[in-house]
Amino acid sequence: MNDVPENQAEVPQALLLSRRTFVASAATLAGAATTALVLIPAPCRGADGSETRDTAAKPTTVLTAVVGFHADRTYLDATGTAEPYRPPAGLRSGQTLAELSEVELLSRYPYLF
């Protein structure tokens, strides 16, 4: 039995946004807006309140923070590269196995699955 409502059965490929793509896109848009605000140079004023610098100066290019994922949770990736997060020190979760003798290891986990 097809339990998909008829009007939803054919979804155009372009509309099949993944959660990751959606959140990242939204974050990029939000980040871009924030960047635009941050990078508009505030006018510098002299002691008498007169503007002393060209307000039309071009902003420098910076990477925008994006939303990344680690362990299926979001985090703000300040590098802007969206590379997967890697715990720098590692969890060393193989160490308890490493301490087993060969016979113990094969007894518990013959295929190390």
Binding site: Q13, L16, S18, R19, R20, F69, A71, D72, R73, P84, R86, P87, A89, G90, L91, R92, S93, G94, Q95, T96, L97, A98, L100, E102, V103, E104, L105, L106, S107, R108, Y109, P110, Y111, L112, F113
Partner: protein, 490 residues
């Protein structure tokens, strides 16, 4: 031996949960022609074992499914809810004793398990998609049907009442030319019975042929091979008896005085036509493929030099030697013209490999060139600081081994990883052997999570095509790629 009732912690600590993940994190791009599911089954304790000497292969069956659709991957996992799992849940403890030994069960269920040992199954070994059904299988009972959309357990299946063996092996073969299932059950009529019953089952799930064989010794027959002409049943010195079980042992004992034996049954013959061949002691567990050319049968397998499982004790009281637990790819040749009951064995590759190798299953029963499996490449790095000191003990690579030229192509999973069983997935529209993807699940010890890796099977050296990152460990032993044309995963 270690006490299995203690939790060692670390990577393999018990999971105790079922999971749904919609839209898994992916690094790289999932090929859009991957439409279907990678389904794995493995042992995962729901309650700790009743006896500390029990083996991990007695744990509850746990099925996990990676659903590939429109370039996205969803994940789902469920325990196989066998009568044993349900009884344990009601009792809130492990009622069932050692591996396939009802004499060690709790008195509350023992009368039933002695009379019907197949009710002890955990369905924890492999999966199968056939005749529109998804199964979880262990070789001590009928297969258990699972709902491919929900992974809920539907119950045992006897192929419309015509499959009469009490048991159904975890490894069967589908003939790619006819689509029929070649299946068998050993200890077919009860505990320690010498009955090996063999079946062909058509694409609709109806039994079309049955052979009833008597084996010369009651042994573990974990896998079979098939050619277009023959069915092949290897077994070694893993033996059992009712006396052995009454003494409280796990089902199998290792008797190094017994030969390895390989039965060859003509597909167009009768049970009386089976021939039994003898050879040197090996632990014969998993098989790659076989072929018949004229009067010669050739079998390829990564068999162990000697005993593999430490928890199956020597029946003669000899100590276990881990040096023998080394599987290597070998070629076995049988001359059917000869009256001799021996065969030739040839070692094809010195390097030890994971014995659970795979092939392009479109070439099952037919001559083929490539075997895929995991192995440890000592030239590759391992980051002990981040993963723990497992260097040299992990399966860090997949290989494509050419059975003709012995050339090895290799894929490296990473410097904190160990790979489980691989699985070949044909590229959509391809026909030539090995044109497709090699997939499998890697354990990442630095991040305590599982990662499903996808590589181009013809260019393993190029590394990942994509990698699916789970946020936790996912247990599994054997798995299959099941296309959308085989089952409805929703």
């Amino acid at each position: 031996l270690p006490q299995l009732t203690e939790n060692p912690g670390g990577f393999n600590q018990p999971m105790r949960f079922e999971a749904n993940i919609h839209d898994c994190e992916v690094v790289g791009k999932i090929p859009t022609d991957l439409a279907g599911a990678y389904v794995r089954v493995g042992p995962e304790w729901y309650f700790p074992p009743k006896h500390p000497e029990d083996g991990i292969i007695d744990a509850d069956g746990y099925m996990n499914l990676y659903r590939f659709k429109n370039g996205l991957v969803d994940y789902k996992s469920r325990w196989v809810k066998t009568p044993r799992w349900e009884n344990d849940r009601r009792a809130q403890k492990q009622l069932y004793g050692n591996y396939r030994n009802p004499f060690t069960d709790d008195p509350s269920i023992q009368a039933q398990t002695l009379a019907k040992p197949y009710l002890r199954t955990t369905a924890n070994t492999h999966t199968l998609a056939f005749a529109g059904n998804l199964f979880a299988i262990k070789e001590d009972s009928l297969p258990y049907r699972m709902d491919p959309r929900t992974l809920e357990t539907l119950g045992p299946w006897d192929f419309n009442g015509k499959y009469t063996s009490q048991t159904f092996s975890a490894h069967n073969k589908i003939d790619p030319l006819t689509g029929e299932l070649l299946a068998y059950g050993y200890e077919a009529t009860g505990l320690c019975s010498p009955d090996l019953w063999v079946y062909t089952i058509d694409k609709q799930g109806h039994v079309t042929r049955e052979w009833r064989l008597k084996v010369p010794q009651v042994s573990m027959i974990h896998d079979m091979a098939a050619t277009q002409k023959h069915l092949i049943f290897p077994f070694g010195p893993y033996v059992t008896s009712l006396d052995w079980l009454r003494a409280g042992n796990l089902h199998w004992g290792w008797d190094e005085t017994k030969p390895s034996m390989i039965g060859i049954l003509p597909r167009d013959g009768d049970a009386k036509d089976v021939r039994w061949f003898k050879g040197p002691t090996r632990a014969m567990v998993h098989i790659l493929n076989a072929k018949t050319e004229g009067d010669t049968v050739t079998l390829y397998a990564a068999f162990f030099d000697n005993a593999f499982f430490p928890f199956f004790k020597s029946v003669n009281g000899k100590p276990y030697d881990p040096a023998g637990a080394r599987a290597r790819i070998r070629k076995y040749t049988f001359d059917l013209k000869s009256r001799k009951d021996t065969y030739e064995e040839e070692l094809l590759w010195e390097t030890p490999v994971q014995d659970i190798g795979r092939i392009d299953t479109r070439y099952m029963t037919l001559p083929n060139r490539y075997a895929f499996t995991a192995y440890n490449d000592p030239a590759r790095p391992f980051d002990e600081k981040r993963a723990g000191n497992l260097k040299g003990r992990v399966m860090n690579s997949y290989c494509r081994f050419d059975l003709e030229t012995r050339k090895v192509d290799s894929y490296f999973a990473g410097d904190t990883h160990s790979l489980g069983e691989s699985c070949f997935v044909p590229r959509k529209g391809s026909k030539s052997e090995g044109d497709g993807y090699l997939i499998g699940v890697a354990s990442n010890f630095a991040e305590l999570r599982s990662e499903l890796v996808i590589a181009d099977a013809q260019h393993l050296g190029d590394g990942d095509v994509a990698r699916v990152m789970l946020p936790f460990r996912s247990s599994g032993l054997h798995g299959l790629w099941i296309g959308d044309d085989e089952l409805d995963f929703g």
